[in-house]
């Protein structure tokens, strides 16, 4: 997978994790949601590590960095090249 492909997959997983997390706030006893949540979080964690290993840190103080300090590197999420389209057009 290239950068945009990994990023898209990671964004999808995190999106699902957030939705399930919000649901679990008001349904803390729902086993089904909790199992899905734990599965998605584990998947996202693996993909996050792969992304960071290949393309640099996603957070400024919870990701290791090779020399020199990588956090300040482009692209940033507001750069056009950072993002991708959801559908081909």
């Amino acid at each position: 997978m290239n950068r945009h492909e990994i990023l898209k997959k990671l964004m999808e997983l995190d999106f699902v994790a957030v939705e399930l997390q919000l649901y679990l706030n008001t349904h803390p006893d729902c086993r089904e949601a909790l199992e899905k949540f734990n599965f998605v979080v584990a998947q996202a964690q693996m993909l996050r590590q792969e992304y960071e290993r290949k393309y640099g840190p996603l957070t400024s103080f919870r990701s290791p960095s090779v020399y020199p300090w990588q956090w300040i590197n482009n692209p940033w999420p507001w750069d056009y090249s950072f993002n991708f389209r959801t559908t081909e057009s």
């Binding site: 990023l7 898209k8 990671l10 964004m11 995190d14 999106f15 957030v18 997390q21 919000l22 706030n25 008001t26 803390p28 640099g56 840190p57 996603l58 957070t59 400024s60 103080f61 919870r62 956090w71 940033w76 999420p77 507001w78 056009y80 993002n83 991708f84 389209r85 959801t86 057009s89």
Partner: protein, 72 residues
């Protein structure tokens, strides 16, 4: 309180830049009815919620409003 991640929650790829619309959208951030004020209001209200469910949910709503600002 927050951890910034160098990625977006949902992809943004502008097909047709529209400075006029952008100028209007940016006015919705500030002021008494803006996104920023709403975010801070939710984050204040969470302190006085009675149930754990409501406390956690208002915390999340406050955070999600502040995220709308970073999508821009």
């Amino acid at each position: 309180m927050w951890v910034y991640e160098k990625k977006l929650q949902y992809p943004v790829k502008i097909k047709k830049p529209n400075p006029k619309l952008a100028k209007y959208i940016i006015t919705q951030y500030g002021g008494p009815d803006g996104e920023l004020a709403a975010s801070l209001r939710y984050l204040s209200q969470r302190f006085s919620m009675v149930t754990p469910q409501a406390r956690a949910t208002l915390n999340d709503i406050g955070i999600s409003f502040s995220k709308l600002l970073t999508i821009k």
